[in-house]
Symmetry: C5
Amino acid sequence: MLLNCVAYENGVKLADLAVEDISDYLERPDCFVWVALRDTTDTELDKMQEEFGLHDLAVEDARHGHQRPKIEEYGDTLFVAMHLVEVGHPDLEVGEVNIFAGRNFILSVRNRSSRSLLGVRARCEREPDLLRLGSGFVLYALMDAVVDLYFPVIDDLESQLESIEEHLFDKGAALTNIAQLYELKRKSVVLKHAVMPLMEATGKLHGGRVPMVCVTTQDYFRDVYDHLTRINAAIDAMRDTITTAILVSQSTVSIEQNVINKRLAAWAAIFAIATVFTGIWGMNFRLMPELQWDYGYPVALMIIIAVCGYLYLHFKRSDWL
Amino acid sequence: MLLNCVAYENGVKLADLAVEDISDYLERPDCFVWVALRDTTDTELDKMQEEFGLHDLAVEDARHGHQRPKIEEYGDTLFVAMHLVEVGHPDLEVGEVNIFAGRNFILSVRNRSSRSLLGVRARCEREPDLLRLGSGFVLYALMDAVVDLYFPVIDDLESQLESIEEHLFDKGAALTNIAQLYELKRKSVVLKHAVMPLMEATGKLHGGRVPMVCVTTQDYFRDVYDHLTRINAAIDAMRDTITTAILVSQSTVSIEQNVINKRLAAWAAIFAIATVFTGIWGMNFRLMPELQWDYGYPVALMIIIAVCGYLYLHFKRSDWL
Amino acid sequence: MLLNCVAYENGVKLADLAVEDISDYLERPDCFVWVALRDTTDTELDKMQEEFGLHDLAVEDARHGHQRPKIEEYGDTLFVAMHLVEVGHPDLEVGEVNIFAGRNFILSVRNRSSRSLLGVRARCEREPDLLRLGSGFVLYALMDAVVDLYFPVIDDLESQLESIEEHLFDKGAALTNIAQLYELKRKSVVLKHAVMPLMEATGKLHGGRVPMVCVTTQDYFRDVYDHLTRINAAIDAMRDTITTAILVSQSTVSIEQNVINKRLAAWAAIFAIATVFTGIWGMNFRLMPELQWDYGYPVALMIIIAVCGYLYLHFKRSDWL
Amino acid sequence: MLLNCVAYENGVKLADLAVEDISDYLERPDCFVWVALRDTTDTELDKMQEEFGLHDLAVEDARHGHQRPKIEEYGDTLFVAMHLVEVGHPDLEVGEVNIFAGRNFILSVRNRSSRSLLGVRARCEREPDLLRLGSGFVLYALMDAVVDLYFPVIDDLESQLESIEEHLFDKGAALTNIAQLYELKRKSVVLKHAVMPLMEATGKLHGGRVPMVCVTTQDYFRDVYDHLTRINAAIDAMRDTITTAILVSQSTVSIEQNVINKRLAAWAAIFAIATVFTGIWGMNFRLMPELQWDYGYPVALMIIIAVCGYLYLHFKRSDWL
Amino acid sequence: MLLNCVAYENGVKLADLAVEDISDYLERPDCFVWVALRDTTDTELDKMQEEFGLHDLAVEDARHGHQRPKIEEYGDTLFVAMHLVEVGHPDLEVGEVNIFAGRNFILSVRNRSSRSLLGVRARCEREPDLLRLGSGFVLYALMDAVVDLYFPVIDDLESQLESIEEHLFDKGAALTNIAQLYELKRKSVVLKHAVMPLMEATGKLHGGRVPMVCVTTQDYFRDVYDHLTRINAAIDAMRDTITTAILVSQSTVSIEQNVINKRLAAWAAIFAIATVFTGIWGMNFRLMPELQWDYGYPVALMIIIAVCGYLYLHFKRSDWL
């Protein structure tokens, strides 16, 4: 579905274009065309390929989707594939943004995501000084917008982790904790797969040899790279913490088991001693003088209670009960 | 076994050749020969070595098979060894495809696999524009076909993993889960060994210094490389998840044990208290007034039942039963 | 909040400046300006950007804070972001120092930290020979001061680790140990995130191509790099040890459980045998001669005590009790 | 002990030499000398050093043995240290082969291994075309022979691993499995230490700058490198699998424990309920009507058996017994 | 404390110098000065800095000590910091050797270690041919001496590990083993920190661009590097083995627990069945014919003994007892 198709000159909007007119405008110097598509059909993409002269393989990638984030050069044209990641329930929602960036055009294709990037165009049009930098700046603005969406996701994951950590040593919470940590780890994998390959690819857009489109806006791409590095480091730290937290949860289970076993042992001992006493006085020997005493029974009860009570206190003191 | 032996000129099929005529055609400019073998005998390979002038070491590798995936240059000729991996039961089935690619010839040898690559030739012949690019494009088409076969394998492994994950926290499922996870990890190792070395080798077919055969088709090899990177990342993520899942399974075992131990302890306590009571009233003291009461027995039973019932509820409430 | 704004010439203080006069002094050769801010407002930063001609993106970073430590070149100007880490209770306290270093100026901005860096200025002014080296030396002095603050932090963490290690094999201490180790690991992550990115960035300030500001003071930056390397290695060692210590703690839990289970088993056996004996002599067979003996009862008691005593000694000897 | 000392010209054996004549032959162009020693004495080595003009440090290394595998250049001479690894019982047997390779000589020294490398000389003499390539080819042939010996070792370790895997989930096999896995891991370390450093060193004998001795035989050394890479990857995979297998073995222990605990709990419950019943009817209340019934006793027994039987079936059904 | 201060010319000792004369001798061509200090005071170091013209930062490092091993160039002068590690009880003893190496001087400072390096000077003076190579060779000789001291340390750690391994599967040895393994791991960290940074730094003293001092003695420094690589690999292998051994120890604990639990269960069953039998015959039913039989009692005892004996044998056979 076509969202916009606009020509710009000197950082100022020139005209909304029909798709057929694109190639005309591309021939005008100092003019560049910015087209935004969404959930494209094959015919739309074919049309765009024809107008902009895009490479088969890049169009193929945009068509199939499910690409790993990457930045590829086809002659003068850059093909950028990015993941749009958003907090969803229960899983993260992952869409895609594919961008073709040539000397005098930008074609962005958004797939399987409801998150609009319209704000980027509005922001660019408000800053003609920067928009004058051409397609390189628009590419930056789009990438920056996509990357900025990763921050709330990592924040969400981190706050989930923190809320698990608060209950990490709670009694009986191990199973829930471990299940949640496992879920969190899976989400972090999804985010990691959006961030790390993009980070590596973006690292090649500043310093050293840089694709022509990005030459004048290197500092901006370094900024994007820097953001991605930050997010990537946060993910790594989180994953490390999750692993440790699972390990710690396992430990709490074992420790809890020790506590249970101790209590089991203590109560078993108390009841067993009482059973032995009643057993003794239940024996049928002819001559058991205490059985004949008037106060034999209450004394026996008191002895049993005293011994059990002593044991109880003993275990209490040594923290087995 | 010889499958095909065809000469092409300008992207169009020229003739089916006899093996003896190959060297003649190799001398014609603008002409290239594409030979496909399967489960070769030594004599076939010797013949081919003679016709194409292949290097001893490369032929040796093709003969012995069981190579690590690799791409080696012998002068102008490339030797490519790849694994053909397919979903099998119970294990993955691994065959081999060895390709010799020279300036004007392609010799592919498929071993120990029933998966035909005939479709590649058909597809190439339908696109004379691309086939005109020569042996470099055919090499790409063959590699692409082999790599495309990895996708269903990783998909299969991933869906197996997902089905295990659904039962990850099921009671008593730990042993089955762990056995399946172990099996899955082994399969991922097999796939990893097919993918990673090939990925590393393919990385050298685009950018920087590139073997002559591949110069005009660099973008295509980058595409193959990109696919391999994607599969490799998916394998790594899966392996990481498997390890975590085994860890988590271990935890569920310990947690289940806690549950069992608690129930054991609770029932032991209930029975033990009942035993103590019956023991007391089974003692043989002369003077135990309650024994003489008319309602002594039913009252005693009710006391026992009451105490046990209270304990039962108590344990129920504290989730030990 | 403006802390200082001073112009220096030939390593000697020239004058305290008003913010408006900065640009005048920047035009004088051999003169450089050193401004220190703290918890800046937006207007202050805007003013500074104007006076020093700073890059939008760098100012943006300084404004938002929460940067990953980094060193970025914007033309001739370096932007350095560092974390100020201090021992706090219960968590580490993390502030930020951002420095803009140009050919003839230094602008430092300290945020969210009460730790003053005034001492750096005093020290520099006491050593005119070094201060004469210009903004490169001041940058070094500031970085050195920030890095020196990491040493007490790592020392504190290490001594905490040592005190945990002393109790590592204490009975019943596992839960406390593990909780403390987990806390320690989290702190080490915070410190690691301050140190490692800064180390990597500082590594580019000596040897090879070096930013102009740092050329004459390379040896000094190598010294800072060396300190960071040392701290980083210490953190890595500590993290490794923590992981092992958690593993070891888990083991102590299991071992303790074995001890408990053995005692449980031993006592259960002793009481059970006594119960069996009393059960036997409590049976109601008509003809049980020992029941009629005069000394039957005391002999029976002695037998029971003897058997239990023997078992007790047996278990004691085999270390089950 | 001197094994052989032969001069070759144009790939053909010229003469068996006395040690004293070596230096004479070294002066003849197109001629090269191949000396093989075994478990050398100091005087032999000194003599060789004199004849071939070897570097002190290299001779020192050959004398002391226990070197890490490595390839070092001393001027025009290469010094190659390799481990000879063979399957032994119970441990792997590790010997050493040190080779000095100059422009026109090869000196090989085998220490602490009974495995003869004579076959290499025979094979080389059968192929004068290749032997004509000179000392570089002989060096390759020797390295190839040593590396080929690693394959049966890794095969042996892998088949041991497989036989352990077959019993991985056997009941009660955990201790044996873990002990064997531990042993296997130790052996893999020994093999790894033979293979990895050699692989890294061999990687420098082809492509890029190559020692003069190896220039004409680069393709052959790449072949050796390729073999080493394959073995190295196999070792890494095995080590990874071993670690997972130990983890899995640990899990089986815990799971088995759950099974035992369940059975313990089930039987305890059955006996405990029987004990309670007998305890009740063993009480001494004056008025317990069922005790007076004619069929009281058999009915009581039947009740006890019925209840225990019900419990037994119940536990059987829920898989606790 | 000054240990020696000697001038050499052409590899031969010229004279013992007073500290004040050093600078005079430094001006003579072909002459070099070798000074050895121990546990220096500040004034000594200041004096040396003056005589040799050392860099502030290097002197600062030597003064403060506790450096990470490193090699730094200050102009023509190298500053080398190394750790002297020796086997101690219970911990490793770590001292420091700092060396300043200039074109025509060597200044070595040993701190916090009683291990004398005098032997190095003696050995050098015995080999004037090598000593003629100048300060580069002396630097090598000192580094070699320090590195040679690491071998007995790693040997000691390895033999400790082996002695633990012998008891790895001993019953009840887990706690001791784990405590010792933990201790061993800590020591390996100390050694690692001495070896790895030094190895990395030494790797830059041969091949590629090499500091002027070391140019003529590159082969020697490669030898030192080689030793360090060997030690480093041994440490890594040991650490890996330690981790596995801890894991294995944990497993033995769990397995032992299974054994204990089985015995507990078996004995509990035997006693419980006996208790049930005595309970039955202790019931007070009026009509229990067997109670009236003459041989009722001995038959009952025999039944109990028979049943318990059968169970005992049963458990014995199935290895529970």
